[in-house]
Subunit: 135 residues, 2 copies
DNA sequence: TATTGTTATACTCTATAACTATA
DNA sequence: TATAGTTATAGAGTATAACAATA
């Protein structure tokens, strides 16, 4: 069996594994009525931060954060408040948002197949390989 | 550091690594004027097959194959021909398609970071972990 | 002039539903 | 009636461009 072919197979499996992880995440947050991007944002909001910072952490465009913030704000999970620099909007979890963040965290942790299917030494091995892959 | 937190970090890195692999693939096929799904389909068309079989291998809906086949046909890379069962359309690479498939294969192989960043034993390790993860 | 955020728009990947032709 | 493929449509996730306000 061709070496190149075998290596491509691994790449395909890597993408499949990531899809499975994402599907697990989506299944975990769907019952909470949150979209995947909003749930991801919620997890990142461990402390108040400007929308710009959130877009950096989510690695997405700033304009997309407006949409996510709208959704979270409508659900009463965050507030927007202007920063000292008047251009900046600081996103901050409400009390409901803090509770929801914990709920999301618990839900996605329970369904995380990295935890479910790999023991500690496997996880360490995988992590090292992924770091090498990401360079 | 929390164990749950660390495990979630690995899941995040897994998704990032897969995104990197996909981005490599997209960058490799973009200069050829192919969309990612069409390039994927092309790689799977190692022999003539019904659209239904291709949808199984791409793990997507049949209706999506119609779109992909349209694109490949317009580019002169495949032909549709009815099978013995008159409901079936057999997709078959043209000569140009066969050449293009080889070009795609070479291009994505060259940019495949699994090959570039991991040696043979790392790859075997990674593969085993991914299989376990996919269960 | 550069940056934050907003708005409007559009693109990619993909699925669902309703349909047709054949089996 | 079940299956292969098509068509039209829709939805999720995300980006681009133009813009307002502030720096």
């Amino acid at each position: 069996m061709d070496d190149i072919e075998a290596t491509r197979e691994i790449a395909v499996r890597l993408v499949r594994a990531a899809n499975a992880v994402k599907a697990d995440f989506a299944d975990a947050v769907a019952p909470l009525g949150l979209s995947v991007p909003s749930a991801r944002a919620l997890l990142l909001l461990d402390e108040p931060m400007p929308m710009r910072v959130l877009s950096d952490r989510l690695t997405c465009d700033q304009s997309y954060i407006t949409r996510i913030a709208d959704e979270l704000e409508e659900r009463g999970l965050i507030t927007r408040a202007p920063g000292e620099d008047r251009r900046v909007q600081i996103l901050k979890l409400t009390r409901t948002g803090t509770r929801m963040r914990r709920t999301v965290f618990a839900a996605v942790s329970e369904t995380n197949r990295v935890a479910l299917r790999l023991d500690a030494s496997d996880r360490a091995e995988l992590d090292a390989l992924l770091v090498r892959l990401l360079g």
